[in-house]
Each structure stands twice: as structure tokens, then as C-alpha cells.
Symmetry: C2
Subunit: 152 residues, 2 copies
């Protein structure tokens, strides 16, 4: 869908300005589609993200700070997301033996099962919804990283 149609606006100050709106809108579009799939599994977008991070290192444990550093949205409140996952028995909390300030988190077998099933649905959805080629995705990656070149 064209951006003009999506936000009912036709006047943009520049192509760069339009690109910022386009990035923001596309991100919302992605999150919305993903959340729709995850709802069936009782997971939010961010809970899913935490489970993926944990599974990526499994059976290694990660502390809260490690998880936070791997989150896409850096200002996520990781302890609270873990609260919800712990209630659902999808992860386990324990105090680190080496450093008692650290809380180490492990994904449970139930967590792995839910993650695998939901990942399958999410990837099917991506396959259906995404029409860009690998080559186009690669170009997109280059342009987005160029956009963030100057770190703030």
C-alpha cells in the first residue's frame, strides 16, 4: 500500500521526510501482522522477542542485561516482560551463583514448544505477505544501515 493512502496525506517536505514516515509506518505494519499471529499463542510481540533471544543461546542462560542488549527496542522493560513469561511457565528465573546481583533466565521446555509453534506461524505469514526478493531485501538493508550511519 502506498504511504499516501495509508496516512491520507500527500504533501511531504522531501523524499527523506517521506522515508522517515515510510519506515515508521512499515514498522507498525510489521508489528501488527506479527501480533495477530502471536495472539493465538497468548504472546505479545516483545514476549516473543525475549523467547527467541533465550532460545538462540539455549541451553546457555542469559542475565537480564544480556537480554536487554539484544532487544530491538532498547527501552523495553525486560524484568517486567520476564514476569509475564514466568507466570506462564515459559521461562525460569534464578539468582546467579557467580554474581548475586545477576538474575539468570532459562527458557523452559514449554517455552521452546510455544516458541517453535508460533515461529512456524509467523514465518508462514511472512512467506505469504512479503513480496520482495532476496536482492531487494539486501538493498533495503544497505539503505537502512546507511540511514543510521551517524550514531546519535
Amino acid at each position: 500500500m502506498k504511504l499516501e493512502q495509508a496516512i491520507q496525506s500527500t504533501k511531504f517536505k522531501s523524499e527523506v521526510h517521506k522515508a522517515t514516515l515510510n519506515i515508521l509506518y512499515t514498522a507498525w505494519w510489521l508489528k501488527t501482522m506479527m501480533s495477530k499471529e502471536l495472539k493465538e499463542f497468548g504472546l505479545t510481540h516483545e514476549q516473543y522477542n525475549v523467547l527467541r533471544i533465550l532460545k538462540g543461546k539455549y541451553p546457555e542462560q542469559l542475565c537480564v542485561r544480556d537480554i536487554a542488549g539484544r532487544m530491538i527496542e532498547k527501552s523495553s522493560n525486560v524484568p517486567r516482560i520476564i514476569d509475564r513469561l514466568e507466570t506462564k511457565k515459559l521461562v525460569k528465573r534464578a539468582t546467579s551463583l557467580e554474581d548475586k546481583r545477576e538474575t539468570v533466565i532459562t527458557i523452559t521446555q514449554a517455552g521452546i514448544a510455544v516458541l517453535d509453534a508460533s515461529t512456524q506461524m509467523v514465518e508462514k505469514m511472512y512467506g505469504d505477505a512479503f513480496t520482495i526478493s532476496t536482492k531487494e531485501a539486501a538493498e533495503l538493508n544497505i539503505l537502512l544501515e546507511k540511514t543510521r550511519e551517524k550514531e546519535v
Copy 2:
């Protein structure tokens, strides 16, 4: 900044998968930088967005539904955002004369002043932070719209 560095992850299933993460991260990066500028004016990202929509049609009034349709994040709770703006006297609410179900919103002179001052800061920041050219921004726009080709 490279995505690998930003989310401390090096393994992506495909360029398309990496592109989805890149879009989500770039959107977060944009919102964070903008919020930093807006903080000085006591505005949130979404409050600023509503003010811009109102100014775009000024002195025409807009009803809540019109504003919602122009928002980037469609699931925003517009009445509540207007609550905050009304408290700060940046917008005014009134019941429509034609249709008593409608609430029409007008940006105040104070609202215009705050919007203009904050827009100046935001655009200065964009000018400093963005390194992509007009041509690259145009390519980015094409690729993002291609990504959303299949509407869901």
C-alpha cells in the same frame, strides 16, 4: 550502525528476515531521536503527530475519526492523546453542530507556537543525523512500499 552490532546478533535466517528486524530497529531509532528533541517541549511523539495533522488542515477543524485515519500507528487511542493536549491548552474540543456525535478539534495559537518551535528542532536534528541522499531516500520509499504490496 550495523544491525549486527545494534542487537548483538549475527545469525539471520535470510536477507528478508534481516530486513524486517532492520525496519523495526530503524523505526525505534527514529522515534528515540525524535522523542529526545520533543521532550524539551513537553510533547510525546504521538502528541506531536496529532498537532502536525491538525496544523496541516488549519484553520479547518478535524473530528477524532479524521485524525485517527491520518495517524501513522493506526491503533493509537486518539481521544486520550487529545486529552493530554487539551490539558496543556494546545488544542480545543467542541461538539460538531452538524452531527452531535462528532467532536471537532482545533489547534490553538499556543499549539501552533509549540509545534513550530519543536518542528524547527526536529528538522535540524534530521538534517544533522541523516546521511542518505534524496535519490537513496526515493529508493528506500520504493522498496518499503514494495514490502507492503500485499495488503493484509
